[in-house]
Symmetry: C2
Subunit: 184 residues, 2 copies
């Protein structure tokens, strides 16, 4: 069986269900960060995974006669592994939730945009309807917001967490784990 | 101190952080369902709360000299208590996440709409951009989707969970915990 398990973004985000799945795994895959977040409960072999189709295929094969757990930082269905691997999904706390909790904004008042390694479309049109919460990396051009004031949240729950508020034109993204909040 | 703590929607959704806050509370408020989900870890007095401004104000007052935990089913920032009470938010797994995991759809490809006790606007316009995930109750008119096929998910993780797929005109919402997924 193959389980894709969200481990959250902060220490202590693991759910009871996720812990149970991790404890019962025969082998566990994940990024260095995801493995670290789940460390306390890992009893089996752990492997740092690659993120490409060949690896996904191989892991799916392996899960035919083993309990394989693939860890996903945050939630597997938030710009995560959930759509890439064919297995059972166990939700985890995403960076979107941590950001909204800090901002005091409800998910039903925003549109979440994935701008990781891609240029998002329709930002201006979407802004007519809702605030935007943009998942971004260093390559994202935050200057496009010009004089508009935005929140830039980087490395949430990591040692070097940084949250700044200012005009888009004055800000610079320094991390590949960035979230930008743009008020409607 | 006042903590608004998400307890998730399924058994076993509590995070380690949520469990810690619940264990250390002097008093715990919540709906019957939320208190049930957290039951195992409650050591203090528990109180079923009312959902009105006077109650929120009273709880905020009480938290000035006590550790007060208010439980929120799902996540406090998903059509939740997070915007109504002034306290520290601890995220939990929301029904939105459970629904997306079942559907195999990423949060960044949908717009989440709150149609609980209100008529949502712009549904047709929003559908031009993304799939919709609508949090609805019995009063929501699912027939507006006519011939369009939608998923109707009710009572996720409860005893009477029901998931159906069909034309909007053929479906009927029987629960106040309903989620409708409409493909773009």
């Amino acid at each position: 069986m193959l389980y894709i398990v969200g481990v959250g973004v902060c220490k202590g985000h693991l759910t009871e269900r996720a812990i149970e799945l991790i404890r019962n795994a025969d082998v566990i895959y994940g990024s260095r960060r995801a493995l670290k977040l789940a460390e306390k409960y890992i009893r089996s072999e752990k492997r740092i995974m690659s993120y490409n189709d060949a690896e996904y295929k191989r892991i799916e094969e392996e899960s035919k006669n083993k309990n394989v757990v693939v860890l996903s930082t945050g939630d597997p269905m938030v710009s995560g592994l959930g759509c890439k691997l064919n297995g059972l999904i166990e939700p985890g706390i995403s960076s979107v939730q941590v950001a909204l909790a800090k901002l005091g904004v409800d998910l039903c008042d925003v549109i979440v945009v994935d701008a990781h390694a891609k240029k998002p479309e329709n930002l201006n049109e979407l802004l007519k309807f809702r605030h935007l919460l943009i998942l971004a990396d260093k390559k994202f051009d935050i200057k496009i917001f010009g004089n508009r004031k935005v929140y830039l949240m980087e490395n949430l729950c990591m040692e070097n967490e940084r949250i700044v508020f200012g005009k888009g034109s004055d800000l610079e993204i320094k991390s590949d784990y960035a979230i930008i909040f743009v008020r409607r």
